[in-house]
């Protein structure tokens, strides 16, 4: 715990140093506001411009949350499905990897053509971004099932269902959470991208409006909120993890290992 704080202070120090030199450079070289606003201008916009961006915050957060939930559910279902049926795993695992090489930005217009401007294409975008880390880490977790426990349960007459729910699934929970942390941070980005497809409110909309009117300070405000929301969701997952995992996943209950 102590080292985490020490590392945290180090990072904070670097960030502060970065902001100071940014502020100084903008002032010294008189960089125009629309090209690169100084940190103080961004903070000022953040304080004074609440009436402009206020209404855009909640829609994005709730979109990211519900997208994360759907993506999580689908990621878990795909992970379990591919694990239980080895044939499916062989057939679909390469496809899954390929699906991640298609940039979401490219898919977005297609989704609009197929599904219009409603909720569905937005959910699909976020789900596409979120399910993959969950599926992959879950499959990885299933791979690391304890052989001795497996043998013990098999010999005691455990059914496939018991083996899964009593051994494989709980054993994969720590891995599932590491996937969830990645997905949680991706989900906000996914939400913003999906709002570019067309939405009335949201950080994505605010960002588009800001950049088309050369309000670069507002673009930075938007970025700041995206980062904050990502960290917030990440922290929420870490909190859940602490709540669920009461054992020590490092030590698997084996002697001398």
């Amino acid at each position: 715990m102590k080292t985490i704080w020490q590392k945290g202070w180090g990072a904070l120090f670097v960030v502060i140093l970065l902001f100071i030199s940014w502020e100084a450079s903008v002032r010294i070289f008189r960089v125009p506001n629309w090209l690169l606003p100084s940190p103080s201008q961004i903070v000022k916009e953040m304080v004074e411009g609440y009436h402009v961006y206020g209404e855009h915050l909640l829609p994005t957060l709730s979109l990211a949350l519900s997208g994360l939930m759907v993506g999580c559910l689908i990621g878990i279902i795909i992970g379990i499905g591919l694990h239980i049926v080895p044939f499916l795993r062989q057939a679909f695992y390469p496809l899954l990897i390929i699906s991640q090489n298609i940039p979401v930005i490219v898919l977005a217009p297609l989704l609009v053509i197929w599904f219009g401007f409603g909720m569905l294409p937005k959910m699909i975008v976020i789900t596409l971004v979120c399910f993959f880390p969950i599926t992959v880490s879950l499959l990885d977790g299933f791979q690391h099932t304890d052989r001795e426990l497996w043998n013990y349960m098999k010999m005691a007459g455990a059914t496939r269902k018991q083996l899964f729910w009593k051994l494989e699934w709980p054993q994969a929970i720590p891995a599932l959470f590491s996937g969830l942390k990645i997905s949680a941070t991706y989900s906000v980005m996914g939400a913003v991208i999906s709002e570019w497809l067309g939405a009335e409110r949201g950080i994505g909309v605010y960002m588009t409006l800001a950049s088309s009117s050369f309000r670069t300070d507002r673009v930075f405000v938007a970025i700041l909120f995206v980062v904050t929301f990502s960290l917030l969701l990440f922290a929420f997952i870490v909190f859940l993890e602490k709540l669920v995992i009461k054992w020590d996943p490092e030590k698997e209950g084996l002697i001398d290992e």
Partner: protein
Amino acid sequence: MSELVIDRIYKSFGADQVLHDVSFAAHDGEFISILGPSGSGKSTLFKVIGGITRQDAGEIYINGERITGKSGYISYMPQSAALMPWRTVLDNVLLGQEIAGKRDPAKAVKMLERAGLIGYEKRFPHQLSGGMKQRVSFIRSLLSPQTLICLDEPFSALDEFTRFDMQKWLLSIWQEYSKTILFVTHNIEEALFLSDRLIILSAKPAEIKRDWQIPFERPRTEQLLYTNEFLQWKKMVYEEIKQG
């Protein structure tokens, strides 16, 4: 009256013959140790009895019922304690019962008390010492409804003192419950101290070289280890194994 009958088991992995004509019978409540060189096929024999490895030939019966290739008839205790890190001690020892379909926490608590683990029911395995984990693992086997327990070098990861404590503890608790035990070990003294019978396997492919009754009276105490008779047995077993 035989509980477990192992009848002419053969097993090879590819061209690698591991078990060669292994036959023996274990009676109700008998404690049998199996000694054999490393790699001779002791763990393989357990997996065959447990129904998770298919033998090439031979049959296995429990109380006259043919159980070849069927699982659910033995309770296995592996070399590592193999506890579930996400379950408390109490939930861990109940696993065998859960698989069979009925939990009996009251009995489990009583058993934990006997093992000096009272107050630890709500702890997780990583909070226990090595010896405690082995005790939990053994109680899990005892609580399982199966009457046959197969222990595969259960104490090999423990230091000498803990190991001896565990042996004494195992004997005291086994005498209360009518369980048949097959016990694999590399330790001659341990085998002699614990068992009614000693089966010595040859090097690969494993055949039964010796099947000895151990005459020492029960209950056995530490004093037994220093008797002349015990030392002579030890020497005899050692010579037998050295011949290969």
